[in-house]
Subunit: 93 residues, 4 copies
């Protein structure tokens, strides 16, 4: 059981769509489509991936981090540090 | 008392530095410096601001969110939603 | 012929790799892997997509925009505006 | 003369506003305002800085890069590489 388990089907559907977007971008490159049109699709796929990440992160905070905070002890601090590092990677990617 | 209170002096010092960076960028524009050199300074100031934001967010999770999680009730969920929204604004800015 | 034509095989290889990364992320969700590990993979895929976008944009500037600038006329301005808009979408995604 | 010279006053005005925003954020920290409200202001200042950067970059492409492309020779390639590197720093910041 994870924070995202309740929304698993939704995440899987969104990820399959991103996979299709990336395959579509490769097809555009292969068929020599116009660079700017390809870039528009890359921006859309990046935004979709980021949106999945924000969803997973929200579910993680709402579930795993809250549980750890309630349990207390050093594990609570570890979970917070771990989540903060993941947020930093996301902001910088 | 907030999550960042213990590090307040450090944040103030970093923000004064960013303020100086932005003033320096305005001076570069005023003195007709080369565009690319100005852009390099804008990227540096943006990175410094983001780093302050990530620090504040980590302190907030470690303190306010953990406290709310322990107290439980609807306020815990509200704090998580609020933090998640702030993270989304940060990732998209 | 586009700016990226000379590097087409390289872009196709990188995009296939991103496609595989996204499929791997879906598999991790399906197999209930730990949220933070999934987020690490999402950040990596986002970075890889952005790097493809920056490559395509550089090739576009070096080729199509330079050609338009040399040809002159209103088309040169249009190409610059179009490229600037694509950069803005990229920075904001 | 640079690409941004015609819009210099506008950039100076926007940068003074960002400087004021950053000073306001320091004041909020100093007065122990709520973390999430501070983060909202940091996101706004970051967005404002990015918007200045995108403007400067567009002016740079429209002017210096176009001029270099017309002049031709190795300098044209150098200008394109330099602009592409600046865009990469912006996207990653």
């Amino acid at each position: 059981m994870h924070g995202y388990t309740a929304n698993k089907d939704d995440y899987l559907k969104r990820l399959r769509r991103v996979e299709g977007q990336v395959r579509g971008i490769a097809k555009m490159v292969d068929e020599d489509k116009y660079c700017i049109d390809i870039l528009t699709q890359v921006s859309a796929a990046t935004k979709a991936l980021q949106s999945v990440a924000l969803g997973l992160l929200g579910d993680h905070l709402a579930c795993c981090v809250v549980d750890a905070a309630r349990a207390g002890g050093p594990e609570a601090n570890e979970k917070i540090t771990e989540a903060t590092d993941a947020i930093a990677r996301l902001v910088r990617s």
